[in-house]
């Protein structure tokens, strides 16, 4: 759990870190969209080059990105193998029962693999270089238009940032409670399914109790500091859009144009 949520942001400094999180957020989603425009070796190669270049200027070790693939490994393997052996073809290299291996299949499988790599690398780049609070700020900013339909954007954003703030605390609390119960003879992951489920009761109840007590304390502390209901608040954190963010967007448009050109080529 620790590695999934916390291992994400990696403190550092480079041009990618300094980009406005809203821009990074949009670019990431935009890029994931245009990945699906690629249709041949040159276009995939071009996108791969772009991603590797971004990784390079982020000054983050490539190892972190490869690690990012790991949780998705089974899904990637499954999809690639599916394409590799189940792509119908009139000209198979090898054929056995329902399995068919062909050059078409091999090509599509490698495209799919590259597509996974592109999407995972670019989103890893976002999470490694952007703090959770910056992401929550960007979401608030992007959702702002919803205020028109009375959607409580500021409250949701505050909720999100407080939730992010308390994740590490609750992880610590969970570890501590687990240790305490293990010391009292609980064996997690031993015995049948029912036994395993039951062994989590001594964790879950204390965790609920302490979450409620944290929530109560926090609510009291917030109220004592004058928090009413989120209306009439000003904002201390500001995001600043600068020239480099415009350049980043321009680069994305350029990439789209090149991609469209290569595609029809």
């Amino acid at each position: 759990m620790n590695k999934l949520i916390l291992g994400r942001y990696l403190p550092g400094d480079s041009i990618i870190y300094r980009l406005d999180p809203r821009g990074k957020f949009l670019i990431t989603f935009y890029f994931i969209g245009i990945v699906f425009l690629a249709n041949n070796v040159v276009s995939y190669g071009f996108l791969l080059l772009f991603v590797l270049f971004s990784v390079y200027i982020s000054k983050i070790n490539l190892g972190f990105f490869i690690k990012g693939l790991r949780p998705m490994l089974w899904l990637i393997l499954f999809t690639v193998l599916l394409q590799l052996f189940f792509t119908p073809s009139n000209d198979p290299i090898w054929h056995w029962g329902i399995f068919t291996l062909s050059t078409d299949g091999m090509r599509i499988a490698s495209y799919i693999f590259i597509r996974f790599v592109l999407i995972i690398f670019i989103s890893t780049l976002l999470t490694l270089t952007t703090t959770p609070i910056e992401i929550s700020d960007s979401i608030e900013s992007i959702l702002k238009p919803l205020k028109v339909i009375k959607f409580p954007v500021t409250q949701v954003a505050l909720m999100l940032s407080i939730a992010l703030r308390f994740v590490p605390l609750l992880i610590d609390e969970t570890t501590k409670i687990m240790d305490a119960q293990r010391a009292r003879g609980v064996d997690f992951g031993e015995g049948g399914l029912m036994h395993r489920i039951k062994s989590f009761v001594p964790i879950l109840i204390p965790l609920f109790v302490s979450s409620f007590s944290i929530a109560y304390d926090l609510a009291i502390a917030m109220e004592s500091r004058g928090y009413k209901d989120g209306e009439g608040r000003s904002k201390y954190r500001v995001l600043s859009w600068s020239r480099r963010d415009n350049i980043a967007l321009a680069v994305m448009i350029l990439i789209t144009i090149i991609l469209l050109f290569i595609r029809s080529y």
């Binding site: 703090t131 959770p132 609070i133 940032s161 407080i162 992010l164 703030r165 590490p168 605390l169 007590s213 944290i214 304390d217 926090l218 009291i220 502390a221 917030m222 109220e223 004592s224 500091r225 004058g226 928090y227 009413k228 009439g232 608040r233 000003s234 904002k235 201390y236 954190r237 500001v238």
Partner: protein
């Protein structure tokens, strides 16, 4: 002396509890005094702090803060005059970073950003935490988190600060820095400080001590008179001041003056006895 807080016949019982946490309690707190409220766990100290700030509502009696009665209507006004630093450093840190947390109270007031930036910097300077401005709470020690909490309170410029067992979860180092900070603030500006504690040694610098037991005020006097009670303090769940413990063990053989002696006075007296010999 002018009263900044006046509590009259206040009673409060927690839901689902049979006994009252605060029982017909009356107490006046003077403007710009440093008042300590002591008593053992469960004597009603923290409940009293919450009542004063209107965080919980009394069943009967009334509380006046700076000329205004604590009620639905005045509550936000009153809260802006009072800053509370709570016990658990982790449970009151709202912001994602130090500066965000300090700004929280100012954001609630709707203060323009330029002004906020100035106030946050000022408040962080007062608690000597400027260099930690962009750090996240996970990377701070307990004592540092409490200093940030104090900065968050100072930023809103309250006239009353309540320290609700703010040092009880800290290690000795953290406790020392927080206590020194309060002493220093006390010297620098006019404010009323209410410190709630069960550590008798933290009360030495206050002007008045109120002892609570079962939700009632059982003693109310200056520190010296309270310390004079000696071992009777144990009845209220408190420890005798260390110099008192030493003095009472010495009195069977040495002639020391009667009454409470602070550490310096005791050393002085022991020294006099030894040089006469």
């Amino acid at each position: 002396m002018e009263n900044i807080i006046s509590i009259k016949d206040v009673t409060y019982t927690y839901p689902e509890s049979k006994v009252s946490a605060i029982n017909k309690l009356s107490l006046d707190i003077h403007r710009n005094e440093w008042l300590s409220i002591v008593g053992k766990n469960g004597s009603g100290k923290s409940t009293l702090a919450k009542l004063i700030d209107g965080l919980i509502e009394s069943e009967s009696g009334r509380i006046i803060v700076d000329g205004q009665e604590v009620n639905e209507q005045n509550i936000w006004n009153i809260r802006s005059k009072i800053g509370i630093v709570f016990q658990n450093p982790d449970h009151q840190f709202v912001g994602a970073t130090v500066e965000d947390d300090v700004a929280f109270g100012l954001e609630n007031q709707g203060m323009p950003r330029d002004e906020m930036v100035k106030q946050v910097d000022e408040a962080l300077a007062m608690v000597d935490m400027q260099e930690y401005k962009t750090r996240d709470p996970q990377s701070l020690s307990g004592g540092q988190k409490q200093r940030v909490a104090i900065a968050g309170v100072l930023a809103t410029k309250p006239s009353i600060i309540i320290m609700d067992e703010s040092t009880s979860m800290l290690d000795p180092n953290g406790r020392r820095t927080v206590l020194n900070l309060v002493k220093q603030l006390r010297k620098q500006q006019d404010m009323t400080i209410i410190s709630i504690t069960h550590d008798i040694e933290e009360t030495e610098l206050s002007e008045r001590i109120v002892v609570l037991k079962s939700g009632e005020v059982v003693q109310e006097a200056d520190p010296k008179s309270i310390y004079n009670m000696g071992s009777e303090l144990i009845k209220y769940g408190l420890e005798e001041p260390f110099s008192n413990q030493v003095a009472s063990l010495l009195r069977d053989e040495l002639k020391l003056p009667k009454g409470y002696l602070n550490e310096e006075e005791l050393i002085q007296n022991i020294w006099k006895l030894s040089s006469k010999m």
